[in-house]
Amino acid sequence: MPDQARRSVLAPRRGTGRSLLLTVPMAVFTLLLFTPSLRQPGAAAKLAALLAWTFMIALFFLMMRTGQTYRWRRIFFVALGFLFPIGFVWDLIALRSSMSIPMERMISGDTPFCFMVIPMTLIPAALTKTIIFPGSILPTPSNPHSIAMMVALWLLATVILGKAWCSYGCFFGGLDEGFSSIAKKARLPKINPKWRMAPWAILVAIVLLSAATFEPVYCMWLCPFKTVTEFPQVRSFETALQFGIFITLFLGLVVVLPFLTKRRTQCAFFCPFGAFQSIFSRTSIFDVRIDKEKCGAGCLLCRNSCPTLAIDQDAIRAGKPLSTCMRCGACVDVCRKDAAVWHIKGTPVGVKPEQARLLYLYAAWVFATMFGGSIIANSLHKLIGLIV
């Protein structure tokens, strides 16, 4: 978000009492979902769960108090992005003393399933009823991250969030967003909008190649996040080449380019799952609209603030961002004319936008706390265990 265009995010929109009142239902809903985490044995686990829950509720309170969404959501999302690898890798090291996946784990179905694989599995599953992934359909003691669990989670998130999965659910996107937030000014401010088509091209390519080879091509060759999770054991030139590609893509797309451009470059210009999820941007009842009468299309603050170039002048004229909009809230928070607003489909644009925002945040934040919050709690548990 450009410094000169940013409103004072600390200027209260509503009083403390009202903000607390609005936070109470969120606290109650999320406490219900967090109860299993709070009941875990051990003081460290309980403390970690309590810290994570408090963190999420505090951020929600600040969203209510300031009327701003983007800044507080970003704090959660970046925390999720950086803490997830800590907990995940910790568990891997505890289980097998290594981040690499040995062949034994793959042929015994012990590879955790990742949502990124979903698009690649569809055609082979439709043709042969087989899943081209070395995991397990149902959870097992050695692999709780089963295919059924991750697909169920993705379906739930798609109904609730649609494309907002990329702002509230994806445990990789926070890395991108974190590095894009470091520099005060973009060193590469101009990006050719044609790069927005790249994720679609990659999606089509990997879906077709995966169907042609019956192998999850993206996981084997292109996923930058293998660098911070797990990767096939390097035992040949081929696996060494794969690892080299993972590291190069991670450093380039997740670290360097977001730092230079202040955009979520991996998410906007590479991630095929993001493109896939754009197909489902219509499933959520919530979206962002631009009230053309209020806008005037003059300042372009919304376009300049969008981390994924989902707003351009055509989108402003059309009154809504592109289907790649991640519902992060940057454009709404930066708009000085209250033209960019939260919206519930089927209702008039610009009428009671704060109501739309509240309903959206109740749904999105409950999901974020259930999923992302529990991941944060798991990682905090590991870190607290180091100290205590």
């Binding site: 809903f29 219900l32 979902l33 040995p102 062949m103 034994e104 793959m106 042929i107 015994s108 179905g109 082979p124 599953a125 009823k129 087989t130 899943i131 081209i132 992934f133 070395p134 995991g135 397990s136 359909i137 149902l138 959870p139 089963s146 295919i147 059924a148 669990m149 697909v151 169920a152 989670l153 379906l155 739930l156 109904v159 609730i160 042609a212 080879t213 019956f214 192998e215 054991q233 035992r235 040949s236 959520s284 009842i285 919530f286 519930i344 489909k345 089927g346 209702t347 008039p348 739309a356 309903l359 959206y360 109740y362 749904a363 999105a364 409950v366 999901f367 259930m370």
Partner: protein, 163 residues
């Protein structure tokens, strides 16, 4: 009409919140049970396919699986047959035995490997073909999904590439 649409929209919005709260408590179990009832399975490249026959030996057995064929012309994993020796803890220190892969009563290859007690010890397998069915393997470890020896829990898995 506009009022009705707006009413329905707000109703769906509120229901979305209900789904977000109640969904995790109910949905995962429901979906898992539904997934278990489908005929979906993990691809045979990873599972090794289905068991075909069991060869009994003294103190252990060899499970021979059905051949897994190369799935598509562009697939990088070739055809193979999986054999599983179990339990690994009951195996003699060295194995060298003929195995009938296609159930015609004639051995198709001789499989040889050391079976150390240490589960972390590296394994190497040598396969000498006796028929045109299989390809030879010489001191192979974990080369690929179609050519490997690996210890999985208390079993030793060998995959032999087919011609």
């Amino acid at each position: 009409m506009k009022r009705l649409t707006a009413f329905l929209a707000y109703t769906v919005a509120v229901l979305t919140i209900a789904v977000a709260v109640v969904g995790p408590l109910v949905w995962f179990g429901v979906f898992s049970r539904a997934a278990a009832k489908t005929s979906l399975r993990i691809d045979s490249t990873y599972t090794g396919g289905e068991p075909a026959r069991v060869i009994s030996r003294q103190g252990y057995e060899i499970v021979v699986y059905k051949p897994v064929r190369k799935h598509t012309p562009l697939a990088t994993t070739g055809s193979f047959v999986q054999m599983v020796w179990k339990p690994a803890s009951a195996l003699p220190p060295a194995i060298s035995e003929p195995v009938d892969l296609d159930g015609d009563g004639q051995p198709d290859c001789v499989v040889s490997f050391q079976a150390p007690r240490d589960p972390k010890a590296k394994l190497r397998v040598t396969v000498k073909p006796l028929t045109a069915l299989v390809q030879p393997m010489n001191e192979v470890g974990k080369e690929s999904f179609s050519s490997l020896i690996a210890r999985v829990n208390d079993t030793i898995v060998v995959r032999v590439p087919l011609r």
